[in-house]
């Protein structure tokens, strides 16, 4: 057991920190073009797609190096790369399951953000029970024809391409008739409609397909094997993302301490209030515990092991923490927490970096915190996974399993 950073890691961190000090954008990035330009600058510095093999434009970087870069980005509140899903999920899927043609056609363009990606998995009646999806792909000889609807597609309106799960066999048990496609979003027959979210913003969309087209060579893996591929895709957990998540919260907590030095409660400043101190103290303790868990995952990844149960545990921990933390922040801020505009600067969240330069409001992050316990496997689904696959508890009786057993039995 040795939890110190190596000399190599320390030197690497110093280089990265210096780079960000010198290159962090001074003004908020407003347009997509500006965000793409920032992405390319990061890429040129070697900070994008670091974990990918060199032959696809990556760095073959160790997980620790990736974590350090993300951590340093969080420290200065640097704008993130624009093609997050492409880099974290689509790219690795193509590297693992793609044909040589698919690799040369797509990977470079993901890397330099020439093509932006989205994930077309969920449907109105297939979320947690993803295998119940109905959107269909029919073989038309020279291409696949897609008909159906997807929903909650993050970044759908800026995406050039999407990874799509669609049903290719209607007559087998639900998990067995699904295929995994790459679909061009810039074609007739695709209607992308932004959905307004709880925060007032619109990051996700609903997507309608009418006789949309997927080229024959844009199937990933074998026909009807989409479910297995999606499982590995969903398994590309962002182990490297753990440190940056912790640092992001740490920056927020420090700002909260500052705010509490001027905010008044019960005739004294909030930071002098025992109840407030206990809330912040608890948030900090739980955050440190998250940091240790992150280091534990990184230690696994560094040895070339895939994180096992730790990643379900980590997902459950951080998404529930996100909610708890912002709930405490709201309690401390009282009515100031409810303000979307008009918060005095002293009580505002400082999402302000050179890059965004704005005083944020805590309420938006509070509302945003209702997302992580729903997406990427809801908290209930994570607990089922931990209970059944990690602790070995018996599977619950599910009618869809009974159906499948009946079908198998003939």
């Amino acid at each position: 057991m040795d939890l110190s950073f190596t000399q190599e890691d320390i030197a690497f961190r110093a280089r990265v920190r210096k780079w960000f000090e010198e290159n962090l954008p001074k003004d908020e990035l407003k347009s997509l073009d500006e965000r793409v330009a920032w992405h390319r600058k990061l890429y040129a510095a070697g900070y994008v797609g670091m974990g990918w093999p060199k032959e696809y434009g990556g760095q073959d970087a160790r997980p620790m190096e990736q974590a350090i870069v993300q951590d340093e980005m969080a420290r200065v509140n640097a704008p993130s790369t624009v093609n997050g899903l492409g880099l974290s999920i689509v790219g690795p899927t193509i590297i693992h399951h793609g044909t040589p043609e698919q690799k040369s056609r797509f990977l470079r363009k993901i890397m330099n953000a020439e093509e932006i990606w989205c994930q077309l998995f969920s449907e109105p009646n297939a979320g947690s029970d993803l295998a119940a999806l109905k959107c269909r792909a029919d073989d038309k000889g020279d291409h696949w024809e897609i008909n159906g609807q997807k929903v909650w597609t993050s970044g759908g309106f800026i995406a050039d391409w999407g990874i799509l799960l669609a049903r290719t066999d209607q007559n087998v048990p639900k998990h067995q008739g699904i295929s995994f496609f790459l679909i061009n979003m810039r074609q007739p027959g695709i209607d992308v409609r932004p959905l307004k979210q709880i925060t007032g913003g619109s990051e996700f969309c609903e997507v309608f397909f009418t006789k949309s087209r997927v080229e024959k060579d844009h199937l990933i893996g074998k026909l009807n094997q989409g479910w297995q591929i999606a499982q590995t895709t969903l398994g590309f957990e962002r182990g490297a993302g753990t440190l940056n998540r912790v640092t992001t919260y740490l920056m927020s907590l420090r700002r909260l301490v500052d705010v509490c030095r001027s905010l008044k409660v019960n005739g004294h400043t909030a930071i002098e209030d025992a109840a407030v101190r206990q809330k912040i103290g608890r948030a900090y303790v739980e955050l440190e515990v998250m940091r240790y868990a992150g280091l534990r995952i990184l230690s696994r990844l560094e040895k070339g092991q895939r994180p096992g149960p730790e990643s379900s545990i980590a997902k459950l921990y951080y998404s529930e923490y996100d909610k708890r933390y912002h709930h405490w922040v709201m309690e401390i801020l009282g009515p100031y927490g409810n303000l979307l505009e008009g918060t005095p600067a002293a009580y505002a969240e400082e999402t302000g970096s050179g890059a965004s330069g704005r005083h944020g409001v805590w309420g938006v992050d509070f509302l945003q915190s209702f997302g992580p316990t729903i997406y990427a496997g809801s908290s209930q689904i994570q607990k089922n996974i931990i209970g059944e696959r990690v602790l070995g508890l018996p599977k619950e009786v599910r009618t869809d399993r009974i159906e499948i057993a009946k079908q198998k039995g003939g």
Partner: protein, 379 residues
């Protein structure tokens, strides 16, 4: 960065676990409830022979020279087995204080004996107040006659009734942290012990009163008026060590609960099939694994002298205190009626965890300590 134990460490843990599984059975633990001494002399001797009592002492004093990570691993096993013994009092508290601040003569005099098990030591620092700063220490030590004269009362002194020597924190000046540590021979005239009974019947303790007790100059551990920094360091280590025992108790409770959920049937299926139970078990695992990270990060930080060692100790004590109460408590709930019985072992783990929860600072105290670090960073 390597968060796994070394093969030597794993070997040590396995040896301790095998030994305790064999010797420290539920029957043995229960037999110690009413035992006057509250521990087995034979086991104590064997533990000494295995090197566990001198684990962290310098090799010059017959110890193994190992660090907090190994100590925490042993303590986790002791928590798992609810071992009744003066280990914490003698080794983790008193022994560590002497190893940290004692001079050569004192180390020679005490550490060998503690390590070989011939000498049992303990630590008296708590008094009437349940607060943890130097202000709560008021037992008076006045210099005179080539030494000091002690007057006052120490409470909650672990295994004081069997101790040969106690390290006592006393007030030697009116400055807020004017504290001095003394090694007091428990047979000195004026020392009286009155046993108290803890909820955890295996963690024996006593109230110790000092009435004009004369302590020679050479029994001052460290410097006169310089005891607080030593005690503060010791309390950090004790907090991590207590968290390690609580972790052992909660992991064992969780394992029993998961096993039970697989076999206990209601409404025609194992209760583990029901999500209300499955999710409870999943939450237990999250708490236990998070506690593991907290305990061993803090242990490593102690051993490595990392700059965040004190913060990590507070994080571990605050987090694991809450987590172990929840895990052990939910284990009782999950077992239903049988979980509420004296015959069933769950309450042993619950009570061991509960014993340590307020000790060396409860969660409220350590959250406050943690926040002070955060404030200092943002000044």
């Amino acid at each position: 960065m390597d968060f796994d134990f070394t093969s030597d460490q794993v070997m040590l843990r396995n040896t301790v676990r095998e030994y305790l599984t064999d010797k420290c059975t539920s029957q043995f633990v229960r037999s110690m409830f009413d035992d006057q001494a509250g521990y087995s002399k034979a086991m104590w001797k064997e533990m000494a022979d295995n090197g566990w009592l001198g684990l962290t002492f310098p090799e010059d004093n017959g110890g193994l020279g190992l660090g907090q990570v190994e100590l925490s691993m042993i303590l986790e096993e002791m928590g798992r087995a609810v071992l009744p013994s003066p280990y914490f009092a003698s080794v983790v508290l008193a022994g560590a204080a002497i190893a940290d601040a004692g001079d050569k003569a004192q180390k020679d005099k005490y550490l060998g004996g503690i390590g070989s098990g011939e000498l049992i030591a303990t630590m008296g620092w708590l008094e009437d107040a349940t607060s943890w700063g130097p202000g709560a220490i008021n037992l008076k030590a006045e210099s005179g006659g080539g030494g000091f004269v002690l007057n006052g009362l120490k409470r909650f002194v672990p295994f004081a009734h069997v101790a040969d020597v106690a390290i006592v924190a006393a007030r030697t000046s009116s400055k807020p942290d004017g504290i001095t540590l003394f090694a007091v021979d428990m047979k000195s005239q004026g020392v009286a012990t009155t046993p108290v009974t803890n909820m955890d019947l295996t963690s024996k303790a006593a109230e110790v009163s000092f009435s004009n007790v004369r302590v020679p100059e050479e029994n001052v551990i460290g410097d006169v008026d310089g005891g607080w920094p030593v005690l503060k360091r010791l309390l950090d280590k004790a907090a991590v060590s207590a968290a390690a025992e609580m972790l052992g108790a909660s992991r064992k409770s969780m394992e029993m609960s998961v096993d039970y959920a697989k076999v206990r049937e209601t409404f025609g299926q194992p209760i583990g099939t029901f999500q209300a139970i499955k999710h409870m078990a999943a939450d237990m695992l999250v708490e236990v694994e998070s506690s593991h990270g907290a305990v061993y990060y803090a242990s490593w930080a102690q051993a490595a002298g990392a700059p965040d060692a004190s913060l990590a100790a507070s994080v571990a004590k605050a987090y694991v205190g809450d987590a172990s109460r929840k895990v052990c408590g939910d284990s009782i709930q999950l077992h239903g009626g049988i979980g509420f019985t004296w015959e069933f072992d769950l309450h042993l783990y619950f009570k061991r965890a509960k014993y340590y929860e307020p000790m060396f600072g409860d969660a409220d105290y350590h959250r406050e300590q943690a926040l002070r670090t955060l404030e200092a960073e943002t000044k």
